[in-house]
Point group: C2
Amino acid sequence: MAIQTGAETEPRTPLSRERVLRAAVDLADRGGVEALSMRKLGQELGVDAMALYRHVRGKDDLLDGVAEVIVGEIERPAAGDDWKATLRELAVAARRVMLRHPWARQVLEERGTSGPAALAHIEAVLGTLQAGGFTIEVAHHALHVLDSRVFGFNQALFEESGPADPSPEAAAAMVRALAGYPRISELAQSVSHEGILGRCDDDVEFAFGLDLILDGLDRLRGAPNNF
Amino acid sequence: MAIQTGAETEPRTPLSRERVLRAAVDLADRGGVEALSMRKLGQELGVDAMALYRHVRGKDDLLDGVAEVIVGEIERPAAGDDWKATLRELAVAARRVMLRHPWARQVLEERGTSGPAALAHIEAVLGTLQAGGFTIEVAHHALHVLDSRVFGFNQALFEESGPADPSPEAAAAMVRALAGYPRISELAQSVSHEGILGRCDDDVEFAFGLDLILDGLDRLRGAPNNF
DNA sequence: CGCTGGCGTCTACGGTGTAGACTACGCCGT
DNA sequence: ACGGCGTAGTCTACACCGTAGACGCCAGCG
């Protein structure tokens, strides 16, 4: 009875950003993203809504954190020597997460999610592609079309494609943020050189995936039963 | 000066559902979907927010109507004899609409859109596939993967996959709603017979598209420059 | 002892969707 | 002509949302 302000039974473990984010994911899991309000989340944690603002800059920041948690749940398979099997496992693992949190797609889409978890995921995809012998250009397209298939939106997880003319300090910050992600760095450099790819044209990415699908269907037309 | 209630300069053309929906699309085009509120929409039309409720059951109904308008904007190419080119044109036309209304993807995803415009679009896709010689099973998969590529979400436009055991009258209503859409009817029948496809398993659809992509990438690995 | 800084609370403001009562007006049968 | 009626738009009110700003409480420290 040393610490005790009143009839409190438990000293109420203090909030933390992580606790807030975990409770937010839990709340969204039960009631969908529209049930995730600051007030309900505070109630869930036995706390006033405004208390959350000590640990989270606001609802936007909360959603950013939640997105990072979700992407962090994607388990990465051990890098095997079969690139196709590895990519498939990666995609299926990501899909498992999206099925577990059906509301997450929307959150991931409307907030960019360029946190370390997203970068690590992209790095894994690019690494697998590179180990499989793909050129950087094809790997870039493949990253887009795979992420689009898995997450359901076309603008990839990272790659908000900042201003057209990056200032030197912005470019330096970019390089610093990408330390530890060699494939992404290489890709970013290759894209910003813009010799080969022309700044990641959305139309080109769309057509790439579309033609992949149409050509695949074409091959299935003759042999309909072996897929 | 026959009709004139006061200092009115114009007799204020009366609202209508169509006028409300068009204004809603316009408002969302300018400010995104979060700018589309009943109050702002009323203001846009020079009218109290509650007036909209005479023409629209509520915000849900408004969004349903907006979704229908958007899908209706997709132009259908003349049915040529090249199924692949026709499908490509269809996909590109749909994408044009989605680029014109960047907020529409979200609306289409969260509301099902099983209106006549969506049905007509699906019918066109299925018709093209059937004319191209696809079996109904492959056409079904193809519909899923194409719509997923175009609209960005995996659950297709139509096909909310109602209750597992449709009551007779519900099934009859379904048949009646699908009159005029022979390919969709055929597909629905084939699916509900559930001999071949097993009730449109989401996992199967996902794997279908994923393998299409992976196999396509595999072929691109050797010849990287001709896409 | 007083101060300070972190953490949680309280109040308040402007925004949202919408239920329900109310008003203004054209039409129609008598 | 007139009373009723349906239709269209308005007004008020309620519950909910995100969050700015002031306040209370308490541990730690000088």
